[in-house]
């Protein structure tokens, strides 16, 4: 067993998956780890599938996580959690944003959006955290802060100082949205405490 931790961050283009993973890379570097992250940009525009591999540990080789060795699936959208779930280890953890975005085939009435994804995941994985990231962000007043709510929840799962998280997040954001994102981060931490 390697000493590297593997987090697969998945969602839909436009949800802030890449920004969230960039922030995670900085945070774990600050915390003293070797880090690597990888995703493909190019044709994956708004509405496309986004999956970002993030790994930290003493020394990280591959930027890609081997299928079947994901320790934590960090999903911003339900269907995307289902798409990538087979990459998890049997004892892996899942942090899921309780949110749905219809893919084109569903919009065109050709396929159905799979039902009861959270319930089905819960039946197979013990460590499952369901967070209302998008909803909480909307309540706070800025739906774009959903990814920061989710990062807040994620931060509770690892032993890295809260200040490192908050400092790094704010460094990535323009000053005018700092207040709302501080709130979003705290709300995410509370959401996780509630869900577990």
């Amino acid at each position: 067993m390697s000493s590297t931790t593997n987090i697969l961050v998945v969602g839909v283009g436009g949800q802030g998956v890449i920004l969230a993973t960039d922030i995670m890379s900085e945070v774990f570097m600050e915390a003293g780890f070797d880090v690597k992250k990888s995703e493909i940009h190019g044709m994956a525009m708004r509405g496309g599938i986004v999956s970002s591999h993030f790994r930290f540990g003493k020394k990280v080789f591959s930027p890609l996580i081997k299928e079947g060795e994901v320790d934590l699936l960090f999903a911003f959208e339900q269907l995307e959690a289902l798409r990538w779930i087979n990459h998890l280890r049997p004892e892996g953890r899942i942090l899921l944003n309780d949110h749905k975005i219809n893919p084109p085939a569903v919009n065109l009435g050709q396929m159905e959006y799979p039902r009861e994804i959270p319930e089905r995941i819960r039946s197979k994985f013990k460590q499952f955290y369901l967070i209302k990231g998008t909803e909480v962000a909307r309540t706070i007043g800025d739906i774009r802060a959903a990814n920061v709510v989710l990062l807040g929840a994620l931060s509770k799962l690892f032993d890295v100082k809260e200040e490192i998280w908050l400092d790094t997040i704010l460094r990535y954001l323009p000053p005018k949205v700092h207040e709302v994102n501080k709130k979003a981060f705290q709300a995410g931490r509370e959401e996780l405490a509630r869900s577990s």
Binding site: H41, E67, G109
Partner: protein, 608 residues
């Protein structure tokens, strides 16, 4: 100081630390961010988007001839465009260090092929370095400049999508100052490749290859890591990281320089370990050259796929064979895909709607508009390489003559036209065919994420500059019929296309609508449109525009009738957060079910 950088950001940093003075590029995934980073972060470097990769390399070479360190970066297929100067640059050599970065795209994430550009190093007889992570990307660019000047050669640095777009920790250093003077110095026997001079230079190229092979033996980036000697792996680039991940205990010969190869080191490695495997992505480049030395690796492309990108699982499965245990699957649901699509409000959509309606064969090109090939628009019937559509349309016209008239059109974007479409358009006029070319001028290089080009009026750093007047240019080339259309006005597009494809003379139809994401080109977006659910009959005319903002839902019971009693199976819906209000669906709805919220419905946008 340490920073987390992508491979592309690290390459840009390497150029800065190497004291590069001139950098040039043409956008192309996965190379684009190299130039974007240079332009944004390293203001001491002169930076430009060149019209194409050939120009980019020639600009870099001009700078090198004047004594400056210069770098050109491009995607793998861009090197094909730049191959002409590259092959002879090998002969002239350089003054200031000259590095060409090729970013290859195994798996074709955003490309028309997955060629392995390591072959260019052997073909052009120039050295090539191949980093396996961000730190090496920076380090190898710096080594490449030193090697370029020491051995009087252009140097290739090869990245791949996975290295270019992955992040890792990079140790930053201060930039160096080159010792080569900037000057104008005549050296015709070196720089003027007349046959008499070039013959002599070719001998020097062969001699240089031998010297570089000797350098490769001692270059620290080519290193043996002897551990368990029962298995030895020869590898380079990203494949090294995958192999190390799954087989951490085996011995390795990790090559940071993939051409010329360190033959002595390779022979020693074969003596140190029992069984040798060559693990590399795409072609058996290392393997073929190792076999040509008379050595017999136990495994290579007989085990590892030659197509597509590798990853840790593929490497493990390939080497373990029957001993491989597949990871457990928890669910086997079919999950609906999310294919790439034209954005809501995209100016290309109206054009493709008309081409589909007129049942025209669309000779397409490279750009966002290639996505018009997918259903439901299904209007792009070919795509080859940058600028090819124009010459292909001309060739098809010449082959079919009168028979083909009115059956096909060429489709090309503005950036692609300026890259490689001008010469073939000259041919269309010069050799007089009836070709009709649709130039989709969205005022940006869209697919690569919106970059400036000579037709936008701005440089890579956003400074205002001269703007190519495409209408004047087309006239100058000899195209008399040049017409602009509003791509969001279906009736107008259809009328103009119908008229032009019937003509005996060539024509250029310019779609005059900016990329919807290019906010600076719009005075404002419109209000989102709405479906009046009492009128919608569920005919799917709007759904068949393939707009991500439009969805369709089945209805039952009371809902299965319109207000005036027509039966329906479903209704459309427009997602207001996605709809910028282009009014295309408004025009295709025959039942008046799509409502504009503007005071007087407009077709398209108020653009700058």
């Amino acid at each position: 100081m340490k920073r987390v950088l992508t491979g592309n950001e690290a390459i840009a940093r390497g150029a800065f630390e190497a004291g590069v003075k001139v950098a040039s590029a043409y956008p192309g995934t996965p190379s684009t961010e190299i130039m974007e980073t240079i332009a944004r972060e390293y203001k001491t470097i002169y930076a430009e988007w060149s019209p194409n990769e050939k120009v980019a390399l020639e600009v870099a070479f001009g700078a090198s001839m004047a004594g400056a360190r210069a770098m050109a970066s491009m995607k793998h297929v861009g090197v094909n465009v730049a191959a002409d100067p590259l092959m002879t640059l090998s002969y002239t050599g350089v003054r200031g260090g000259l590095v060409l970065v090729t970013a290859d795209d195994p798996e074709l994430y955003s490309s028309q092929n997955e060629q392995d550009n390591r072959h260019y190093a052997r073909f052009a007889k120039v050295p090539m370095f191949e980093p396996s992570d961000s730190q090496e990307a920076k380090d190898f660019v710096k080594v490449a400049f030193d090697v370029s000047e020491t051995y009087d050669t252009p140097v290739l640095v090869r990245s791949v999508t996975r290295v270019s777009h992955s992040k890792g920790i990079v140790e930053l250093e201060e930039p160096v100052v080159s010792s080569i003077p900037l000057e104008v110095r005549k050296e015709p026997e070196k720089f003027t490749m007349l046959p008499s001079y070039a013959r002599i230079r070719h001998r020097l190229v062969e001699e240089r290859q031998r010297k570089l092979a000797a350098f490769a033996e001692t270059f620290p980036g080519n290193r043996m890591e002897i551990d368990n000697p029962s298995v030895g792996i020869i590898t380079a680039g990203i494949a090294y990281q995958y192999a190390k991940e799954v087989f951490p205990d085996y011995s390795y010969l990790k090559l940071g320089m993939v051409w010329p190869l360190p033959q002595g080191l390779i022979r020693r490695f074969f003596k140190e370990v029992k069984r040798v495997y060559v693990i590399e992505e795409l072609d058996p480049f290392l393997e073929d050259n190792i076999r040509a030395m008379g050595l017999r690796p136990r495994g290579g492309k007989n085990l590892i796929p030659i197509t597509g990108e590798l990853n840790p699982l593929i490497v493990e499965r390939s080497l373990l064979g029957k001993k491989f245990k597949a990871p457990k699957a928890f669910f086997d649901d079919p999950v609906p895909p999310r294919p790439p699509n034209l954005c809501p409000g995209c100016p290309h959509r109206g054009i493709f709607y008309v081409l589909r309606k007129l049942k025209l064969f669309g000779i397409g090109d490279i750009g966002c508009y290639t996505l018009g090939a997918y259903p439901p628009l299904s209007s792009v019937d070919s795509c080859l390489c940058m600028g090819a559509s124009v010459g292909m349309t001309h060739g098809m016209a010449k082959a079919l003559g009168e028979e083909g008239k009115g059956k096909f059109v060429g489709i090309i974007g503005d950036s692609t036209f300026l890259h490689g479409g001008i010469h073939p358009l000259m041919d269309v006029a010069y050799n007089r065919s009836y070709a009709t070319i649709l130039l989709l001028d969205n005022r940006t290089t869209g697919m690569t994420g919106s970059q400036e080009h000579p037709g936008t009026g701005y440089t890579v750093r956003g400074e205002k500059t001269r703007k190519v007047d495409i209408v004047e240019l087309a006239h100058a080339l000899g195209i008399e019929s040049v017409r602009k259309v509003n791509p969001w006005n279906v009736e107008e597009v259809e009328k103009v296309v119908r008229e032009e494809i019937e003509k005996d003379a060539p024509s250029l139809i310019i779609s005059d609508g900016p990329c919807i994401l290019r906010q600076r080109e719009f005075k404002h977006y419109n209000r989102p449109l709405e479906v009046d659910s009492s009128k919608c009959v569920g005919c799917k005319a709007c759904v068949n525009l393939g707009c991500p903002a439009i969805s369709y839902q089945d209805v039952e019971g009371e809902m299965a009738l319109t207000a005036d009693g027509k039966k329906r199976k479903g209704i459309s819906r427009i997602e207001p957060t996605l709809c910028p209000g282009c009014h295309l669906c408004y025009q295709v709805c025959k039942f008046g079910a799509i409502q504009s919220r503007e005071e007087s419905p407009i077709l398209g946008f108020d653009v700058i």
